[in-house]
Amino acid sequence: MAAPELADAPAPDGIHTISLYVHNRPGVLVRVALVFARRGYNIESLVVSPAASGDFSRMTITSRGDPATLEQMIRQLAKLVDVVHAVDHTGDSSYATEIALIKVEARVDERTEILQIAEHFKAKVADYGTDSLMLRAYGSSEKLDALIELLRAHGLRELVRSGKILMTRGLAET
């Protein structure tokens, strides 16, 4: 069975995905976070990782807020000395994905249904315990939301999500 087709919908619930290319210097994460904190904005997810070029890092940030405020925040992010560029990728055709580790209680009588759900979402079983299952799922954030919602009924014990990562298609720079 094919996994459900869940496209990366533009800005569901006003969530924006912002990609930053930053000079890898101490303090850059704090400076970026302060642009959000100053307005009382919450960062929903944040992924920082080394970029292809050693001195630089990629940050993918999702945050919720009104578009005009976010537009100005992106300008203020771009203004930071250590930020090379900041782009709002919400609604564009970039490829986005996320990984989740999900621990569910799985008594014998429930196990089959949980495994069926997992298979439907192409989630792998990462740990097979006597009373629990750890699933590893990846895909769009919306797909993971749907999977987690289904598993909630079965006693969701722990959830760790990587946060969304994103890359533009073709040779265009992220």
């Binding site: 000079h23 101490p26 400076r31 100005q72 771009a78 930071l80 000395v81 930020v83 090379v84």
Partner: protein, 571 residues
């Protein structure tokens, strides 16, 4: 004695020398001793202040009066935290400043060592950029980058935190000339299509208005602004910080706009059909109620900082560029507007609603400032503190040339005026420098009387003493049923005696008949500071006034007879 291989502190000081630093405003302390030690052998003159906040405002005043960065050196912990107000002041008003803070040993960081503070952490929101130096060999790069960042683009303060072991260890790295800052791009020339679009909007305007801010001062764009105004036949208004970019006494100039601006400037703001911001940021002191600000006028925004675009208003055209370069390329593209009716109307407003004050009922600050302007022929460098005296100074001391007006606008920092005047005088020894301060703000940094006296700095301090925190008292009178709370400065010292205690000559003005005599006596003082205390009436108010958050059209020109609504704006 310099070692064959300099230590970090010596290299730091050598780097400062290479940057052309003449003065360092500082206060010593344990973690900064290696740097103070290195200054012993340097040509840079150390100006020992009495409080670190004073050092920051001196560096700021020096920077704004000269256009060159001001440098501060303090120690770790409380020495560093005392610079936070000065950093905010410089950041809000885009003043180039370098603040060097000593720090505990790098091996002690995070261990609550004596006089340790997370200084880079505390100051992130109030700097343009900052460095915590972890390797002695980083010093040449960090200093070069810091000066580049502080002085280019939209200037601002940069902080360098130097642990004591780093300043004590050998530094073998060579001096640097180049900077490599891939995330830092400064807009230069405007795009041709933007300039064409601006010319097109201006061509169609019948009632244009140039709204000139601090960016025009910083870019030294005044001549280009004037050329544009004269070619277009457009009136000019400026912000509090834009004073001096162009001559406020020019026939096309309507003076300061905004909350306490001239009535005619604000009437022009309401009546224009196009407003062009030149290095200004649509601050809430200027716009009042944003939704109604120039609602039907076309708006052009020229600024070197693109993060200002669409922040407050959504202009029809935004131009990211250096103001001077952009205007020099815009002038050849424009022609005269059909604005003769408009200019006539502005002149009528100017005649009908002049700045005025009653000539009776006790000594008034306005008259003292008016006379100061006449006696100095409007040529003095004026610094101010924050409050009523600041607004009266802005109104009654029209500024005629660039970098002759130094005031804390964005941050509104009390205590700024007097140390800023000291810094300005260090930078411009040939200029006549006057600090205009209130009795409240002056007492926050008056310890710097000693600094001025010791260094023979002939800055003049005019204290407008009404024994109140007058601007707050004015708000309480107008908007809070005159329920005075926290504004009575009972217990003020005798400022004349205070100055004399520092060996500084001081003059008192009690009545209007004293004004010219005492100001002339003060102007004659040479070789050191002097103080003039104007004992003005206690309960005078600043008008015109646009209540905070109200539309510009709701300007109050004369003292109101009835009670007013509480303002909707924040402050």
């Amino acid at each position: 004695m310099a070692h064959p291989v300099p230590n970090g502190a010596e290299k730091l000081v050598q780097c400062l020398e290479r940057e052309g630093v003449e003065y360092i405003f500082g206060l010593s302390g344990g973690a900064a001793i290696p740097i103070f030690d290195a200054l012993v052998d340097s040509e840079i003159e150390l100006v020992l202040v009495r409080h670190e906040q004073g050092a920051t405002h001196m560096a700021d005043g020096y920077a704004r009066a000269t256009g060159r960065p001001g440098v501060v050196l303090v120690t770790s912990g409380p020495g560093a935290t005392n610079t936070v107000t000065g950093l905010l002041t410089a950041l809000m008003d885009s003043a180039p400043m370098i603040v060097i803070t000593g720090q505990t040993l790098s091996t002690n960081l995070g261990k609550d060592a004596f006089q340790e503070a997370d200084v880079t952490g505390i100051t992130y929101p109030v700097v343009k950029h900052s460095y915590l130096v972890k390797e002695p060999d980083d010093i040449p790069r960090v200093v070069r980058e810091a000066f580049h960042l502080a002085t280019t683009g939209r200037p601002g303060p940069v902080l360098i935190d130097v642990p004591k072991d780093i300043s004590s260890a050998p530094c073998k790295a060579p001096f640097r000339d180049e900077v490599h800052l891939p995330g830092y791009v400064v807009p230069g020339r405007a795009r041709a299509e933007d300039l064409d679009a601006a010319a097109d909007l201006l061509r169609r305007s019948r009632r244009p208005l140039l709204y000139v801010g601090h960016g025009a001062v910083i870019a030294d764009a005044g001549k280009a602004v004037m050329e544009l105004a004269e070619k277009l036949r457009s009136p000019i208004v400026n912000t509090l910080l834009g004073k001096g970019a162009t001559d406020e006494t020019h026939p096309l100039h309507l003076g300061m706009m905004g909350m306490h601006g001239t009535a005619y400037a604000n009437k022009a703001v309401v009546g224009c059909d196009l407003i062009m911001a030149i290095g200004a940021r649509w601050d809430d002191r200027v716009t009042g109620k944003v939704d109604e600000f120039c609602a039907d006028a076309k708006k052009i925004h020229l600024d070197i900082d693109p993060s200002e675009f669409n922040k407050v208003v959504r202009p029809d055209l935004c131009i990211a560029a250096d103001a001077k370069q952009a205007l020099e390329e815009l002038v050849p593209r424009v022609s005269a507007c059909d604005s003769s009716e408009w200019i006539k109307r502005c002149d009528e407003w100017r005649k009908k609603y002049p700045l005025k004050y009653p000539k009776r009922g006790g000594l008034r600050a306005q008259q003292v400032l008016d006379r100061l302007n006449v006696l100095t022929e409007g040529r003095a460098v004026i610094t101010t503190d924050v409050g009523q005296h600041q607004m009266w100074a802005a109104q009654f001391l029209p500024t005629r040339s660039n970098r002759h007006w130094v005031t804390s606008g964005g941050a509104g920092t009390m205590g700024f005026g007097w140390p800023a005047a000291i810094g300005a005088k260090f930078g411009r020894p040939e200029a006549e420098v006057w600090a205009v301060v209130g009795d409240g703000g002056f007492q926050m940094t008056m310890a710097e009387l000693a600094t001025a006296a010791v260094h023979g700095i002939a800055a003049k301090c005019l204290i407008i003493n009404n024994n109140y925190l007058g601007m707050v008292r004015q708000w309480q009178e107008l908007f809070y049923e005159n329920r005075l709370s926290g504004v009575d400065l009972e217990g003020n010292p005798d400022f004349v005696k205070l100055a004399e205690a520092y060996g500084i000559p001081a003059f008192r003005i009690r009545r209007s008949a004293d004004i010219d005599r005492q100001l002339k006596a003060a102007r004659a003082v040479q070789g050191g500071p002097c103080v003039v205390v104007a004992e003005v009436m206690k309960d005078d108010n600043v008008f015109p006034m646009i209540p905070a958050g109200a539309p510009v059209s709701h300007m109050i020109i004369d003292p109101p007879k009835q009670r007013l609504e509480k303002p909707s704006g924040s402050t």
